[in-house]
Symmetry: C2
């Protein structure tokens, strides 16, 4: 288990994504972190080059090493053998067992070997469920993997190695969750979600989201989660947003071998490209024609390097987005690149309640709202929930103000308008945020939010606002078109009494607001009858 | 005019964007092309460096040169003076006149000077309208600019220089169009749309789209269009899509001076960044902290270089997108990065009829549909129009098939299903493409299109399909849930008779299809009464 060796500290967080520090013994890697997979015997890109590019951890396969260079590996240690001083993660070889049939190795043998060669992070011997399999098979692989994991931690839990517990179960949420719970119960503090590769190869990104969500629902927030074999440039952002902290992938070289070129917008086939939209050292060193015509090994090398730079950039994009609180935005931008990624984003958005935990209640920067799914953002959910929880349950009638420019609405003459005005409580209606007390005008995120100009949802929002306010106990709700609204230029000139006053529905009786002369037409529907229920 | 010197050949086209070749004398530049602006006296990045980075044209200000290095410039020529053998575009200095007050120079003086120094592409002396000005002022600037342009071409039209005619008029479409028409009438064959800089600085991208659209409506397709001062990374894709071919901008260095870092997702402030998500030579040569702490001139230099690499990459993205027919997709991806760009995309989509001219009727690659605005794509408009124009006006009842997986629907047993089946014409309903005769299953874009899984629009589409089919003369339309649908695995095994047959509405009488046993529930609405009109 090596628990003394191991720590995971979250430094910044957004959605379920986090910038963290993974400490393994005296080494650290910053997460989210991609561990490029290298072949233990021959590499297209050397470990030294990967180090110089800024990769602080590598993934390699202990089974191949065990089969081919066992003694040498034990003698030199994996760091000496492969000449890399960073963190090594080693896979148990379960994938190879799956692919090449049973290899004559037991969980204990391969676990001891991983410890002996000094691997910092090691996966217990598992059997990947893969994709599109029967439930019975999925259950069998899950049980086999779990049994090995428990036995391994029992026998080798005290070694220096930190063991990753492999979550298997394929597309079956209950199996994934049973797997994760079993591993957590046995003391694993770093889990790894298995078998997404085929799911990703089939562009079933929405299924991948469901798999990660199912796992994250039972894996506590402080426990880091590894995602096996996830090196597709379009999946990085949403995987990070759903709480995957580390990744390994050989995609950079596998794609390179088949002439595939990664961009932040997807995978391109080199033979369908006319331009290289990249300025990485690899792309700067060559032209497209040159690249196509060069000898295959050299092309694979240059494409591998390009793909690695691309993945590295995407990891940096994710980190930057987390730090500035714009990870949702990054995911949404990637979603625009392919309908299947949009599907994945939709599944994520529909489960956004799970993302609230990691999302700061206050952010430095405003929200950018450009699509329907943005209304499901955790910041908005949280704000609305806080708002209604804290709202006074008024006895007064409320007057809801709907300005023509809801974002620049201010009550001139007073910095924070009183919520009571002529016997009414004042609310504003934001096209996305819904109704909020006017005195929150300067509170995040009510004025810091930028939305698209076409707020086709306004009438819907108005209906919802009415409903929500009814629930707060207001008996009557009226709407005003542009009340108390002063253009910002005028506001800057100093305190002046409001020139425009709100209009109010004819059915709102008594207590006229001071200085009132209805100048604006009442645009909203007339207040509903008193039969409206209050909760 | 230098018309003998000048040609513009379109090599590939998508939307109104084109990859073209601009020939000026013996020099060529490939468009879309960005001309970085350099100061004629002192440069942060030297012309030689810009050449090595791959920029084939530069923009500089002839008025400053005229004021400060007149004799030297005439003696050495601009290429000798600035040591750059590519194409020079020179601005007349109108912007400076605006900014620093009237400079004592007439249209003729500055035109002659531009010719004398050997500028290949030169702008006639204009007065930029700018932003947020009165109509009267906009009209005045437009008229002044047009008058100078006509006088210049009259006197200097036979010089070696190719004259760009500046379109002014700000946000007023009729003024822009009057301006463009006047220039075209006078013989200008390269126009330049003025004053977007302030519009862009205020993130009023939708207004920029309206300005370009207004211009493109009167500027014929073969005439290239320059967009002044447009170096914002978020505006490049839609500007290209709307038919802007060349750009000039000093944004790379202006942003750099204020510590701003371009990404394909927008502008970042360096002091708000924690990571550098880029692998360009500039970013590879330094770390973020180092960059922040270095001396200001050196930081400006490195940031300028980074910004230039970023812009160059975006130009390559545009070109690649045009060649592969995915320019719409690129614009949509950029739209996801900011609500104001989404606004711009919406205005573009709502005017998509203008984009049909440049969009190929057949594309190599399928359409990716991920958002509501995608339904306005010119490819879909064109397909629908062709379809309904060519459709037989049947006397039969039609049977519309709505499969659960509309994209993989095939009629097994026959490669191309007959459109007649049991006396009905068969149609499929695609969630975005609408109703189409089933025999078009293998015709672009009906099966090559990938949509998001959540086709919330299906019921709407069904309603529209019914309406469209009525218009074709069908008296009755029925719907089937998954008729004639065979999973693709089964299909591959060979010719077998369809196992599932369509269901049809109870109100559809007579001519039962062969082998029919209604197994699927009829999901659609019952056919409307015979009162439905046909056109």
């Amino acid at each position: 288990m090596g628990l003394l060796n191991f720590a995971f500290d979250v430094k910044a967080s957004d959605l379920l994504g986090r910038v963290g520090s993974l400490t393994v013994g005296r080494k650290q890697v910053e997460t989210p972190c991609l561990f490029p997979v290298i072949h233990p015997v021959r590499q297209d890109i050397s470990p030294g080059e990967l180090k110089r590019m800024g990769f602080s951890g590598l993934m390699t396969n202990s089974l191949i090493l065990y089969a081919r260079r066992r003694d040498e590996a034990v003698r030199k240690g994996i760091h000496g053998l492969l000449d890399f001083e960073g963190v090594f993660m080693t896979d148990s070889g379960g994938y190879q067992v799956l692919e090449y049939g049973d290899v004559d190795v037991g969980y204990g043998e391969i676990a001891r070997f991983q410890s002996e060669i000094g691997s910092e992070l090691a996966v217990t011997l598992d059997r990947p469920t893969g994709f599109s399999t029967s439930r019975a098979y999925a259950r069998e692989t899950m049980r086999y993997s779990l049994k090995n994991a428990l036995a391994t931690i029992d026998e080798y839990g005290t070694s220096e190695t930190v063991w990753l517990g492999p979550i298997q179960g394929g597309l079956f949420p209950d199996l994934l969750q049973g797997s994760a719970k079993g591993l957590l119960g046995a003391g694993f503090r770093f889990l790894a979600l298995g078998s997404p590769t085929q799911v990703m190869e089939n562009y079933r990104f929405a299924d991948l989201v469901r798999m990660i969500l199912a796992s994250r629902r039972v894996v506590p927030y402080p426990v880091p989660l590894h995602l096996f074999g996830a090196g597709h440039p379009l999946t990085m952002a949403f995987s990070v947003a759903l709480g995957c902290d580390t990744f390994d992938s050989a995609s950079y070289v596998l794609f390179a071998r088949s002439g595939r070129y990664m961009t932040e917008r997807g995978i391109q086939r080199l033979d369908q490209m006319s331009y290289l939209p990249c300025s990485c050292p690899s792309c700067n060193s060559t032209g497209l024609r040159e690249l196509r015509e060069m000898e295959s090994a050299e092309r694979t090398r240059l494409l591998s390097l390009h793909n690695l730079y691309q993945l590295k950039t995407e990891v940096a994009n994710c980190k930057q987005a987390i730090v500035e609180g714009r990870l949702w935005d990054l995911v949404e931008e990637r979603a625009a690149s392919h309908p299947r990624v949009m599907d994945a984003f939709r599944v994520m958005a529909e489960n956004a309640e799970l993302l609230e935990d990691g999302t700061p209640a206050l952010k430095d920067r405003g929200l950018l709202l450009r699509g329907d799914l943005d209304e499901l953002r955790p910041e908005l959910r949280t704000s609305r929930a806080r708002l209604y929880a804290a709202a006074r349950r008024g006895k007064r009638k409320s007057l809801v103000l709907l300005g023509d420019e809801p974002l620049t609405l201010t009550y001139s003459g007073q910095k924070r308008p009183s919520a009571k005005f002529g016997g009414h409580d004042l609310y504003r209606v934001h096209p996305c945020l819904g109704a909020y007390p006017a005195e929150l005008d300067f509170v995040y995120p009510f004025t810091q939010t930028i939305t698209v100009s076409t707020t086709s949802a306004v009438s819907e929002t108005r209906k919802n606002a009415r409903k929500a306010l009814k629930r707060l106990g207001y008996r009557s709700v009226s709407f005003s078109a542009a009340a108390l609204h002063q253009p910002s230029e005028e506001r800057r000139r100093g305190h002046r009494p409001p020139r425009r006053v709100m209009a109010y529905s004819a059915t709102t009786p008594a207590t006229r607001p001071p200085r009132s002369r209805p100048r604006q037409k009442v645009r909203g529907p007339s207040p509903p009858s008193s039969s409206a229920r209050s909760r």
